[in-house]
Symmetry: D2
Subunit: 108 residues, 4 copies
């Protein structure tokens, strides 16, 4: 069953989505928000893609490979941006993104 | 932090979404698919709403109460439909839906 | 047929989603981005809800009334925030939001 | 501006999403629903992807090419399945899917 076979990936995507959305929300409250614009943008991009892929995998999409490949790219882009910033939420988000990128590559 | 405060609810929504999508996919393979049409329809309805609410809560939506209230209604409708069918995936899905409906009511 | 009966509403939701996402993206490029934080947040909130409702209506959701009622609230909140800002994208977005809020109320 | 530059594509995606969801809903009411299972599955798959890409493009995603490429594939798969069935909603959906696949390829 697709949803059992991919249980770990589903959880990884879920955690990445949560960290990205938390980082997004925290960035919008930072004083140096101007510096965080690209981080905000990519946080949303990555959260949306992870959220989408969670659904797609759990319904047994035949396009898991293609979707996971795009998701890995987006996670990496988001992780690379987050990594540049010292805020704890950015560093935690970067970890979640790189972790998720790896997991996605394994099914891509 | 919204995403920590609601960590349990986020997990409950995630699990309900996974069960609904699994039930959806399994129903489409059943021989008695004609009897499962309403179940398929509500499984998607419920998976989509739970998936949406997961994202909304994790980004700190100011509309958590209104959205959780609608989600509770949809979870209940899906659970009630699933409960009618003997397939194991339907019974498991019904449990996840009622569980999620309760969790949603607590923040609605 | 749900999708024909609601063709105008589907278009209104689509346009509101597009304006909100454009405003979101433009706000992230503004010099006074600090002042736009709430606008960015609500633009995403509103775009996501309109996008969700578009899908839900076009698949004939039985929960159109409940969902449209929440959507109207979110559109109004977003329109009220956008209205405060002189940027052309904010003013256009406010118009689209109020227009969409009205359309949603008609089916709520 | 991304949302103006891609206005036609946004409309094409919107129309494909609406047709797919209509076909999905109509298939669930057909007497020969067993024969329509794959059509139902791909209708949802395609509607979800088009709906996702609409949002992504209108917020100016940097991943438009990768996402449009996957969307084109999904639209083609859905169109090919719909084409097999004589129901009017299937034939109309197939047209919308092939049309959307072409539009996606142009930006992929």
């Amino acid at each position: 069953m697709s949803h059992e076979q991919h249980q770990e990936l589903l959880q990884t995507l879920h955690e990445c989505m949560v960290e990205c959305n938390h980082c997004y929300s925290a960035c919008l409250k930072e004083d140096d928000i101007k510096m965080m614009a690209e981080c905000i943008r990519l946080d949303r991009e990555c959260a949306d893609m992870c959220n989408y892929l969670e659904q797609a995998i759990s319904r047994g999409t035949p396009f898991i490979s293609e979707l996971a490949s795009v998701c890995a790219k987006i996670c990496e882009a988001c992780g690379n941006e987050c990594k540049k910033h010292d805020h704890e939420h950015c560093q935690k988000c970067a970890d979640a993104c790189f972790n998720c990128a790896e997991a996605c590559k394994n099914v891509a």
